[in-house]
Amino acid sequence: MSIKLRIEQRVEDVPKWLPIATSVGSVVVAFILGGIIFKIVGGKPLQALSFFYQAVFGSWAVFSDTMVKATPLILIGIACALAFKMRLWNIGAEGQFYAGAFGASMVVLVPLIPEDSPKVIVIGMMLLMGMLFGGIWGFIPGYLRAKYKVNEIITTLMLNYIIINWNNFWIFDQWSDRGFQMTATFDRVAWLPRLADYAKEIPAFSGVTLHLGVVFGLVAAVIVWWIFRFSRWGYEIKLIGDNPTAARYAGINISRNIILVMAFSGALAGLAGMAEISGVVHRLQESISPGYGFTGIIVAWLAKLNPFAIIPVSVLFAGLIVAGRELQPAGLSFLLQGIILFMLISSDVLLRYKIRLVRTGEESA
């Protein structure tokens, strides 16, 4: 008599804890597999893990660094979750991030407002312009999809390259700082407040780079959570996502919602770009993103499109980015990202099917 695994379709509701368990499980299994590979290539996995921990959570300063990296991921993860909820595949968050950075930079570099404007006005204006430009970069594929049924996966992807080269044109040519491929550093008035700015009052904050952008992320999470949970718009998004035919039958204007969701999603990614420019880099330059726009897609899925779950998941992925800078071989953190995604996709099977152990003798009985 032998024991066999049998996979059966789930009939009853999926227990509430299961999606969380599969997400956490995916990460744990990914770390174990990553460790095994690390061992095979001749590393010391446990030491690497402890190093990883040190590099990510080791001290307030280091953790703050992780949070700085998590900020754009939170905003972009939420931007993606919003679009994905409606089954709009916005994979152009990377481009919308650059568009937001460009829009925010315009405020300082054109300049759009008098140079002696107070900080509140400058930051407020940068925020608006960042969201506006990100929003436009989301609106374009949204409009094309709604009016001409153009596949948004293609357009959002292609628009990424357009905006990156557009930015390059400005930083290489128009706004170039003495021929370098970057603009001049912004005046401090255009910098988002950082904890380090208050080091005089609270000495513990000295050198802590965490900036106001993380608050944008938290606020966005609350707002989008509220939209999904309680609002009419969120209900329409859910309905369109689950069954567009039924949504049309219920009198919902699908075209308008496609455009709105894409524009809002783009605006959130644009806000991430603004926060990165104003909070971290303090100028417009090449490669302001190590692929935040794409990592954000993974973040949104791993968090099962839940805005609050996006926050810890972003911190984890930010940790992978931070550790990747310090860990050798550097590819390890990409490897982990890849394995996590892989585990996550495969774990979805567990949500739809049950696995049962069956004794073969029993089965025939």
């Binding site: 609002s231 009419r232 859910k238 309905l239 069954n243 039958y249």
Partner: protein
């Protein structure tokens, strides 16, 4: 008759599906070189019987002989080996490949090198023989539907079929293409092929068939009768039958003002062919107008133009307010309820909860819709009330709608559509696939709405349903209204005639 003169002889065929006797001791014979029409309504068991002949189903009992020889098919491959080829209603072609490539697909030869030039020639020769012209090098996606069908026919001929089963081949064709197909069929029989032609259109049977077998609810009502010996009226009667399963009390009621008015409404179907042709109808308050007809004659499009889901020409008004060619929200705001034909694909969102599904039409209105937000607590309460009132069996209002049985899902949709107190209701196939108990519940609910003064358009393929509920009956065939009669003096034979495409002839 000598069994060797018969291409096919099926005797006492019984095929069962869970809960349904799809073929109940059916006899069927096909003579060599004839075109034999297999006539019946949707769900009468025509396709089931032919699928058994093509090796897709195995009968529970009964025998099949092909060219005098007893056969026992285990797969379509066995049937093909005996020269039986089926042209399905839905084409099975690879759009990006050429005609020749599609015809060769799945064959043993050519083995490795395609040798397309050589096979193109072979296929051209085959085309010449049967008058089925389509460019062998053309890719499938470049072809019209009629041409794609020719490819399907060529596929079966290339495989050496001499008994062709054509499953509603005219359903997807334009009138011109239908004529071409008929010519092809005649030329094929001249070359010694035998054809079984499945259809529900009486006109086509008269045009082309040598003999006809009629099925109704799984039973044979006319067995291989020569077309010379039967009248259309006789066939129509055998196709629709005359028994009414159960009757329901329908109280007399004064009809009120005109609620729905359609004037010369025409519309295209999804493939761009005319689906509705100058339809004019009126439905008054407190009245049920039944639309009888064989499925696929424009009923879906009729429901869609009224509810704003499809564009049309002509004019549709609800209490003098124009609603045609406006977004669906306009009809909803005018008090139009819609019980859609497809409960799962159109009527509900399967992964959302019962609550989410019951507020689908009403979430904009107070008190559930409250400005920007939705009061989900109230929505849950409201759903619970409906769940009790309409006896919807579900663990809770948070259960995803997709887990409900068909009957319960339909009750959920009815609860939602009736609860808005509609002025006008389109009910399309409201009881399809439901058991007797659920059918009675739903009929009672529709009559209650009529009693309350709603105007109801009942679109159904079930004549029992049409006769039991309607005050007046309109018959639709190929997108045209063939006639409208008061249900008291409606004659089922007359309705049957109209369903198969004949105009009402009395004054």
């Amino acid at each position: 008759m000598n069994p060797n003169d018969l291409a096919v002889e099926m005797k006492d065929i019984v095929i069962e599906f869970p809960g349904v006797l799809a073929n109940d001791h059916v006899n069927f014979t096909l003579k060599k070189g004839e075109i034999h029409a297999l006539l019946g309504e949707n769900g009468a068991g025509k396709s089931t019987l032919m699928n058994a002949l093509a090796g897709l189903y195995k009968p529970v009992s009964g025998t099949i002989r092909v060219k005098g020889e007893f056969v026992n098919f285990n797969s379509p491959r066995d049937a093909i080996a005996k020269g039986i080829g089926m042209v399905h209603q839905h084409f099975m072609l690879v759009p990006t490949q050429t005609v020749t490539e599609n015809i060769l697909l799945g064959l043993r030869e050519p083995r490795f090198v395609m040798q397309l030039k050589k096979y193109n020639q072979e296929i051209l020769a085959l085309q010449d023989k049967f008058g089925l012209f389509v460019q062998p090098e053309a890719k499938i996606w470049q072809l019209s539907v009629g041409e794609q069908q020719r490819v399907e026919i060529l596929k079966t001929l290339y495989r050496g079929a001499d008994i062709l089963i054509m499953d509603e081949p005219t359903a997807v064709l334009s009138p011109r293409e239908i004529e071409e197909l008929m010519d092809t069929m005649r030329s094929m029989t001249r070359q010694g092929k035998s054809i079984i032609f499945i259809t529900h259109k009486l006109g086509e049977v008269v045009d082309i068939a040598d003999r006809v077998t009629v099925l109704r609810k799984g039973k044979v009502t006319a067995e291989g009768e020569s077309m010379q010996g039967v009248t259309k009226k006789d066939l129509a009667q055998r196709m629709v039958g005359r028994e009414v399963v159960f009757t329901i009390e329908r109280t007399e009621r004064e009809v009120g003002e005109i609620v729905l008015e359609m004037k010369n409404v025409s519309a295209l179907n999804n493939r761009g062919l005319p689906a509705l042709k100058k339809v004019s109808l009126q439905v008054r308050s407190g009245e049920i107008l039944g639309i009888a007809g064989v499925g696929g004659n424009g009923q879906s499009e009729l429901a869609e133009v009224i509810t704003g889901l499809r564009d049309c020409t002509g004019k549709i008004t609800i209490q003098n307010e124009a609603i045609s060619n406006k977004p669906p929200i306009k009809a909803i705001k005018q008090g139009v309820s819609h019980i859609p034909e497809d409960r799962t694909a159109v009527g509900t969102a399967p992964n959302l909860s019962l609550t989410d599904n019951t507020i689908m039409k009403g979430y904009r209105e107070n008190p559930i819709g409250d400005g920007w937000r939705i009061n989900f607590q109230l929505a849950d309460q409201h759903t619970n009330t409906l769940k009790e009132k309409y006896n919807i069996m579900a663990p809770s209002v948070r259960t995803p709608a997709g887990k409900l049985s068909g009957g319960n899902l339909q009750k959920l949709i009815l609860a939602r559509e009736i609860n808005s107190e509609p002025r006008f209701m389109v009910a399309m196939q409201p009881t399809r696939g439901l058991d007797v108990g659920a059918i009675e519940d739903i009929w009672a609910l529709l009559l209650e709405q009529r009693q309350k003064g709603s105007a109801i358009l009942l679109i159904s393929e079930e004549l029992d349903e049409i006769f039991s509920l309607s005050d007046r009956i309109a018959v639709i065939s190929e997108g045209e209204i063939m006639g409208v009669v008061e249900s008291e003096d409606a004659d089922i034979d007359e309705i049957g005639m109209m369903m198969t495409g004949m105009q009402l002839e009395r004054e």
